[in-house]
């Protein structure tokens, strides 16, 4: 992220159907659809997934450029994934091979599959976070983790940790950007073409980032203690509201897509 761009996937307020759904339903639906994407392995399956993405984008009423924003910038990442999969897939009938490298049709298909899935899952998670406020995501994770309590795991504390982490990501990114600018102004060469210079140049960024992250964590812990936080189980958490019927319908819809992918 650079100073001139917001973090991709950051919540954008809106009034679409997706915005109005219960965050728990959206999280559950997101997991089901991710499963569906991983299960998809036929042309028909891919077509269904693509149709679904188009539908979600249309229903979310978000600009297409925002939905695919981060994906576009990761173009080279996808190219590399594709090439790696192509070259290191050990097929029976390679077209050409040398040492551990081999080129085959199956490899190319595999490369495409992997690339396609990562791409779609990225877009999917992008849509999810674009239509759901971070705080709602946290409480949705919290209710998802509830069953862990049966295993005597500290579900509330885990949810708390996740929520703190989620809330700090934008702050830390912003800070990284500020520090980066300050070091550039001092003569750091992040944009240098020489590899060794670039590696060394990361130090002026990484050291202050760690220091400030620890300082923040320490301050937050002190503040929480000072305000009487003694583990999540002592909190009088408010009762979660029941999900509206529409949300159940959306989960059902996602489950149907998932089932369809298993069948085709």
């Amino acid at each position: 992220m650079s100073m001139t761009e917001r973090m991709t996937g950051q919540f954008i307020p809106g009034a679409s159907l997706l915005h109005s759904l219960d965050a728990r339903a959206k999280l559950f639906g997101f997991i089901l659809l991710t499963a569906a994407v991983i299960l998809a392995d036929t042309v028909a399956g891919y077509a269904l997934i693509i149709a679904l993405m188009l539908l979600l984008t249309a229903v979310s009423k978000l600009p297409v450029s925002t939905v695919v924003g981060s994906v576009r910038r990761m173009f080279w990442f996808f190219v590399i994934i594709f090439i790696m999969n192509c070259l290191f897939y050990s097929a029976e009938d390679p077209i050409w091979s040398w040492w551990i490298i081999s080129l085959s049709k199956a490899g190319a298909v595999q490369g495409f599959n992997v690339m396609f899935r990562i791409l779609i899952i990225l877009v999917l998670s992008n849509i999810f976070t674009l239509v759901t406020p971070p705080l709602e995501i946290t409480s949705a994770i919290q209710s998802m983790l509830k069953p862990l309590k049966l295993l005597r795991l500290p579900a509330d504390d885990i949810a708390m940790i996740i929520s703190v982490a989620i809330q700090f990501i934008p702050t830390l990114l912003q800070e990284a950007d500020t520090i980066k600018m300050a070091q550039i102004a001092r003569g750091a060469r992040f944009e240098s073409r020489k590899l060794h210079e670039r590696a060394a140049a990361m130090l002026p960024l990484i050291v202050p980032m760690f220091l400030s992250a620890f300082k923040r964590a320490d301050e937050l812990a002190t503040a929480m203690e000072a305000r009487g936080y003694r583990g999540a189980k002592h909190r009088s958490g408010k009762k979660a509201a029941p999900m509206p019927a529409g949300s159940y319908a959306s989960i059902l819809f996602c489950a149907a897509v998932c089932a369809a992918e298993i069948i085709i």
């Binding site: 520090i179 001092r186 003569g187």
Partner: protein
Amino acid sequence: MPIEVKNLSFTYSAGTPFETSALKNISLEIKNGEFIGVMGHTGCGKSTLIRALAGLLRPSEGSIVVDGSDINGRRYDRSKLRRKLGVVFQYPECQLFETTVEKDVAFGLKHSGLNKDEVTERVRWALEICGFDFEKIAKASPMGLSGGEKRRVAIAGVLAVKPEYLILDEPIAGLDPLGREAFLELITGLNADGMTIIMVSHNADCIGEYARRVLLLNGGELVGDGSPQELFSDVERMRSLHLGVSRSREIAWLLKKGGMDIPQDICSYDRLLPAVLAHLRGGDEHD
């Protein structure tokens, strides 16, 4: 040679729902040796202007010409700009990262082409004008210093390059009154030696006392450019921009409102005091 800013505009996150226009059509010229204060309400674009001047943001429109060359031109060598123009960001103490103070201050000299002795000499100079004893502090770890000391080390790191232009973003925020005064004396001294100073501050007192020219920003636009005397003369307008005037100016204004005949171009303490004294003495003589 001066800095020329022509029709500068900048928009964050252009083309997304988060689009924020932070600078709008700003034109100004900064001459060598000036001491400029930049004031404006929170979020008016002060830091953005500084980032643009330092070549850290590419303007959406307009140009910035430093010493005759456009800093966003295709052929422009940015490392030249880094040596010419030092920037002290808000809370600069966050940028320290080396194991010793000496190394940290020397960081900006890495690509300067100075030899080892020259670098040490520069570091000594920078630390000493920032009020440190070089022998004592050089080998200390920056992490073990107090907040105020860290800030002075960070500033020494910027000064070590001996920039012609020094840009400071809220340098005195969070300093105690003594540290503040010492710091402003340091900056004034550098200015007297010919360094051009551009300082962002919320503190009208420090601008009124030290700056010789003030830039007022409001909502990304340049709404005032002149001496503190000129700009502070209209106290009501300053208030409408959510800004205060220096306390000396406010005292002169209140005294005038209360019926006392005091010049209204007073912004600093060292002019207020004689004026009030003269008036009181004059009053005595009449009685």
